[in-house]
Amino acid sequence: MTTGLLKTFAVWASLLFAENAPQIDVVVGPKSSELERHAARELSEQLTKLFDANVTVHTAIPAEARHVILVGNPASNPAVREHGGDWPKLSPQGIVVRSFQDKNASGVIVGGGSPVATLWAAYELAYQFGIRYSLSVDIIPDENPELKMSGYDIIREPVFPIRAWRTVNDFPIGFESWGAEDQQKLFAQLAKQKFNRILISVYAWQPFVDFKAGGVQKSTAMSWYGEKYPIQRDTPGKVVFNGADVFENPDFAGKDGYEELTASGIKHIRHLMASAHDLGMTVALQMSPLEFTREFEKVIPGAKNSQGPNNVLIAPGEKQDLDDKALKQLVTAQIRAYIETYPELDALYLTLPEFPEWEAHAEEAWKRLSEKHDLGDATLESLTEAAGNRNTIASGDRGRKALRGNVAALAFLGDLIADGKLLERADGKSIELVFVQLDPGLYPVAEKILPSSAGMLNLIDYTARRVVENQDVLKDVPAKKRPSQFIFTLADDNIGILPQIATKRIETIARVLVEQGWQGFATRMWIPAYLDPTVHFLSRFSFDPTTTARSAHDEFFMSITGHQSSADRLWLAFSHLEDATEILDQNDIGFAFPVPGMFMKNYKPEPAPEWWTAAFDSYLEFLNELYRAGGNTAPNGYNFIFYYSKRSEFVLEYIGALRALREAAIARDAGEIETAQEKLSVAIESVFNAMDILSDVAHDQSDRALIALLDAYAYRPLLEEQERLSEAAEAGEK
C-alpha cells in the first residue's frame, strides 16, 4: 500500500493507453454513398471500443498504414477495386468480409452488393471481432480481442430477403408506447442484425391519419384502445415515470384532442420512417382496410362491432353488400389517407380482419372470384368445412367465419385495387402490396384469388408451438408462386405480460420456410425483454441456414459472458423459459392478456390449477440458471444478464399473487372474511413486489408500461377489493 497525492491516476492511464493504442485506418471511397460513410463511422467507433484503437477514416490507403479496413465495393471504392481480388457476384443484399494483404498493410474489406449491404458487412466484421448486438446495446468483450486481419473470407446471401420488424401495433406493453427516439435506437440495433424492413402496424383508432369520407370527419385519436394508465402517489415502482401522473408515449405527452394528437401521431410515424430509411431499410405500413372508427357508422349504417378491447372499431355488416358505394368510398378514403400522409411508403400490408364479421356475402364473393379465376375443384363449402375442422385456434365456427369473411374481403378489395389508382404514390412509384392473415383455408387457392403481384404475410396460429404442431399447413402456401412472408411470433400477446420465448420452435419453422422458398418474415411481439436470443438466432439464420438455435445461442452468450459454462447455464435457463411459455400456451393462452380483468378474473373460489405450479417451477429454474450464469459473467456482460435475472423475479411474485387471490376467494366464499383479507394482503404485497422488481431494472417503455398496467389491472383492483371486504367485515360486526 502506498500513500500519495490524488488526481494523477487518470492522466497516467490515458497516456499509457495512447502510447499502446493500435492505429487502424478505415478507407471509404471518395464518392461513396451516405450509407457507406455511415458504415465507416460505425466501424470506427466499434474498433475504438474493441481494441482501444486510434481509428482514422480516409478516402485512400495512407502510405504508412498497417491495419486497414476498406469499406464499399469495387464500384464505390477504388481501394476495394485494387485489393478486392476476384470480387464475387452479389445480390443487393449480399455481403463480403474478406482479408487482403498489401506490401505494408494487412486488412479486411467489408463490402456488399449495395450500400446497405456494405453497412451490414461492417457490422458483421465487428461481430466477428466479438461484439454482440442486443436490442438495446452493443456488448463489448471484456478482454480486448486479437487485432486479427487475416483469415476472413465470408460471402453471404440471405435466405430470407425480407426481414421485417413489426412496430407500433397495439397495447402499451408493445411499441405503441415507445417514442420515436427510442425506436430510432432500436432500429439502429436491428440494422446491426441485418433487418431490412420496418413494418409499422397501425389501427384505425390511433392518431396516425386524418381523413373525411361520406361527409364524416375522422374524430377518434387515441392510444391503446382508449385505456388510460394513471400513475398515482402510491403506485409501486413509480420512480421510473419521473414524476409523470399518467403513463404515455413520450411523443404524445401532454397532447390532447383529435387535432393535437393526430399531428403528433403523424410526426411520430414520419420520424419512424425517416429513421428506418436512413439505415437503408424499407418501410411498410400495415393497416386493416375494413375496420373504421365508430363515427363512420353514419357512412355505413348497420355496421357491426369489430372484435377487440373496448369496441372501438366497426366493420361492414350484412347491410353492406360487395358493391356498397359508401363502403367503397370509406375504404378508399382511408387507404388513400395513409398513402398521401406517408408518401415515402415502400409497401402497404392490408390486414384481413382477425375476427371477420363481414361474412354474409361470402357466397356472392366466391361466385365473383370463381368467375375471374380458375379455382379448380375448390368450393366455398368444402373450404369452409375444412376451416371448421382444423386444429388451429381459428377453428369451429370461428374458423368457418374467418374463411368466409376473408372471401368477402378479398372479392371486395380485389375490385377496388383493380382500378390501379388506389395504391398510387404521389411520385408515381408503385407500392408493394401484401395481404396479411389470409385464412389458411384459402392457401390452396391463394395464388389465384389474391390481386396480381400481391404478396402474403401469413399467421398460421398465435404461438410458434401451435404453428409447429400444424406445420403441414405451411406446405399449402404457394410460397414459390406468390411472395410469402411468415409472421414469427416471438412472444404472444395472449400469454401477454409474462416472460416468454420460443427460439427452438422458431428454428423448426424457419427450416421449413427455407425448404419451401418463403420470401421472409415479420416479427410479432409486444415486450422485447427476453427476445435477444431469438432475434439473434433469426439474424444469423437469415444469412446462414446452418445456424441452429443452440449454435446461435452459444455464439451470442459465449462472447457476452466470456465462459462456455455460463452460456450452457443460459441455454438451460432459456429452455426452462420456453417450457414455461408452452405450459401457459397449452393450458390457458389468454392467461395474462393485457386488458382490464387480466388479474381479477382469477378471483374465483377454486384451488390454483396444477399447471400454475408447473409454470412457476419452470420460471424458478429459469431464474436460478440466470443467476448462476450471471455469477460467472465477465463485467461488460454482467448488467445485460442481470437485467434478465432480476426482471424474472417479477413473474414469481405475480404467480404468487394469483395463488393468494384464489385462496382469498375461497375464504371469502366460505364467509371467512378475515382470512380472505389476509390472503388479499399477501396478493397485494406480491403485486407490489412484482412492480417494485420491474422498476429496479426497467429499461424501456415496455417495462414501464408493464408497471403501469399492473397498477391499473392488478394493484388497484386488489386495493378496492380489500376495501370492499373491510366494509363487509365492518357491516357484519355491526
Binding site: T3, L5, F9, A10, H563, P635, D692
Partner: protein, 499 residues
C-alpha cells in the same frame, strides 16, 4: 426520557462545554475537533446510532413541496449525507462525471465546493449488484477534514473548508464472491480514521493518522467473509473499545493499537448491519440467508459452480480470487472439492451459517465473552439483512422487507410488538433514525414513514421522496437531509410549503 448517546467517558466534558456555549458543545472524540453537538458526522450519525439528541423540532410531514429547505440533483449515490460545521457533504458517481464529493451549506443548500475525481472505469470493481452503487461509502468528518473511501482511490482526506485533497491512502480493490460490491464506511476516532474492510478477498481493520494519512495500525481479520458493518465505539468499565461485527463474531478492539480484547462468538455468516450502542450495551441484529447449517460452501455450490459438476474451477471465479483458490487446492488438481471448498474462503475456525438473530451484548469484557456477556439473544424473523437496529427510548426497533416492524424492550429483549406493518411495502435498505420523538423509516420505494416514538406503533406520516431511497437520512439542527438515489433534499419545519 431522552438519551443523549455520548460515551460516558466524554459526557462530563460535553456538559462543561454545554455550560460554556449554551446549545453548542464539542464532540467528545479528540482534542482538535470542530464539530458541534448536533452534527451528524458519519454513517448514521453519532456512533452510528441513528439517534439525534438535539432538541429542535423535526417535521413529521415533508415532501418536495412541503417543508422543503432545498433540493439538489447531484447524481447517483447511496452514501448517507453527513453534516458538520454548517456543511453537508455527499458523494456521487457516474462514468461521465467520475466520483464527485459535494459540499453544500447545511442551512441554505448553497454549493460551497465540489471535488471531482476522474476515475477510469477499469479501475472500479467490474460487477456491483443493485441497489449498490459505486458511490456507496458514507464519508466521515471531524469538522476540519472530510474522510472518504472510494474503491478506486482508497481512503482520502479533503479539507472540509474548500475540498482540497490533503492525503490519500490506496487500498486493495475489494472483491465479493457474490458481486455485492464495496460499501463500507470509515469513522473518525480521536486522531485516527478507522476503516473496516471485510470483503471475500481481504479483510482488515485499519487506522490512519487523520492529519497525515499515515498508517497507525492494521489488523487482519482472516476469519471474516464479505460484510459491511461499520465500527462503533462502546465504553464500559472505563474503557472505550472499538467494536466490529463480522462473520460469526462481535469483537472489541483497543482503538489505539488494533489489538483484539474480546470476542462474542454468537453472530451469523453474513453481517451487513451495524450494531447500535447504548451505554455499555451493544445491540446486534442480523438476517443471514439460510439456516444455521448453511455455510458459504453451500452458496458457492449453488451459485458459483456454474457448470454444476460439484467441483469448483478457477474460471468460475474472478481472477483476483485465484490465489486463494490455488492455496485451497491442496492436491493441486485444479479443482476445489469437498473439504477444499469448505475452507477455501471461509475460515475453518469460523464455520458459521445463516439464520436470524437479535442480540444484546454487554461491552467491556475480555477474551471469549460468549458465555458471559450475551445479555439476551432472540431468534425471531424480525431483523433485516441490511437495515440496522434503532435503540431509543428503551426500545430496540427493527424494520424489514414488506415494511414489517418489530420492537423489543432493550433491557430484557421482551417483545413490545411483532410483525406490524408500517403500511409501506417493499425493501428497506436504509436504517431507521430518530429525533424529536419521531422515528424516520426510509423505504427503498422513496416513502419515508414517520412513526411516533413510543410503546405503540403509531404512524404519523408517509412522505414521498419521488425517487429510490437506499441511503439513511441524516438529522442535524432541526433539519432532515435525505439522499435519494439522484438527489439531496433538506427538510425542516420552518421551511413551510412550496419552497
Amino acid at each position: 426520557m431522552r438519551h443523549y448517546l455520548i460515551p460516558t467517558t466524554c459526557r462530563f466534558q460535553s456538559v462543561i462545554w454545554t455550560i460554556i456555549f449554551g446549545a453548542l458543545y464539542i464532540l467528545p472524540f479528540g482534542p482538535d475537533v470542530a464539530c458541534i453537538a448536533d452534527d451528524w458526522t458519519q454513517f448514521r450519525g453519532p456512533n452510528a446510532t441513528g439517534v439525534s439528541a438535539a432538541p429542535e423540532p423535526l417535521p413529521a410531514e415533508f415532501s418536495t413541496s412541503q417543508n422543503l429547505v432545498f433540493s439538489h440533483e447531484i447524481g447517483k449515490g447511496i452514501a448517507c449525507p453527513i453534516v458538520a460545521a454548517g456543511k453537508v457533504v455527499t458523494t456521487a458517481y457516474a462514468p461521465e462525471t467520475g466520483f464527485v464529493v459535494y459540499c453544500h451549506e447545511a442551512a441554505t443548500g448553497a454549493e460551497l465546493w465540489k471535488q471531482v475525481f476522474k476515475v477510469e472505469p477499469e479501475s472500479l470493481p467490474g460487477k456491483i449488484v443493485p441497489p449498490n452503487e459505486h458511490a456507496s461509502s458514507t464519508p466521515c468528518t471531524d469538522g476540519e477534514r472530510v474522510y472518504i473511501y472510494f474503491s478506486a482511490i482508497g481512503l482520502c482526506a479533503l479539507d472540509l473548508a474548500n475540498g482540497e485533497p490533503l492525503w490519500s491512502y490506496s487500498l486493495p480493490l475489494p472483491y465479493y464472491l457474490m458481486d455485492w460490491g464495496p460499501a463500507s464506511s470509515p469513522i473518525v476516532y480521536e486522531d485516527m480514521v478507522i476503516y473496516c474492510q471485510d470483503d471475500d478477498l481481504d479483510q482488515y481493520l485499519i487506522a490512519l493518522d487523520k492529519k497525515s494519512g499515515t498508517l497507525r495500525w492494521q489488523k487482519p481479520r482472516p476469519e471474516m467473509l464479505g460484510g459491511y458493518s461499520v465500527p462503533v465505539l462502546c465504553t464500559a468499565n472505563g474503557r472505550t473499545d472499538l467494536v466490529v461485527a463480522g462473520t460469526g463474531k462481535l469483537q472489541g478492539f483497543n482503538p489505539a493499537t488494533g489489538e483484539e480484547i474480546w470476542a462474542c462468538n454468537s453472530l451469523l455468516r453474513t453481517m451487513m448491519s451495524t450494531p447500535a450502542v447504548k451505554d455499555d450495551r451493544i445491540y446486534v441484529t442480523c438476517q443471514s440467508y439460510g439456516d444455521a447449517g448453511r455455510i458459504l460452501k453451500d452458496a458457492l455450490m449453488e451459485w458459483k459452480d456454474t457448470n454444476q459438476d460439484k467441483k469448483l474451477e478457477k474460471n468460475e471465479f474472478e481472477k483476483p480470487f485465484w490465489t486463494k483458490f490455488e492455496k485451497a487446492d491442496t492436491n493441486g488438481d485444479g479443482f476445489l472439492i469437498q473439504e477444499e471448498i469448505n475452507t477455501a474462503f471461509q475460515a475453518p475456525t469460523n464455520m458459521v451459517g445463516g439464520g436470524n438473530i437479535m442480540q444484546c451484548i454487554k461491552g467491556g469484557g475480555a477474551g471469549d465473552v460468549t458465555g458471559t456477556h450475551l445479555v439476551w439473544n432472540l431468534d425471531h424473523k424480525a431483523p433485516s439483512n441490511i437495515s440496522s437496529p434503532l435503540v431509543v427510548d428503551g426500545r430496540m426497533f427493527v424494520v424489514k422487507k414488506g415494511g414489517m416492524s418489530a420492537a423489543f424492550d432493550d433491557t430484557t429483549g421482551q417483545t413490545i410488538w411483532m410483525q406490524k406493518r408500517i403500511r409501506n411495502l417493499g425493501d428497506y435498505f436504509a436504517s431507521p433514525v430518530a429525533g424529536d420523538g419521531k422515528i424516520y423509516v426510509t423505504g427503498e420505494n422513496g416513502f419515508i414513514v414517520v412513526l411516533k416514538q413510543g410503546p405503540d406503533m403509531e404512524i404519523l406520516a408517509m412522505n414521498d421522496m419521488e425517487d429510490t431511497c437506499v441511503a439513511t437520512p441524516a438529522i442535524s439542527n432541526g433539519r432532515i437531509y435525505v439522499r435519494t438515489l439522484n438527489k439531496l433534499h433538506c427538510f425542516g419545519e420552518s421551511a413551510g410549503d412550496g419552497k
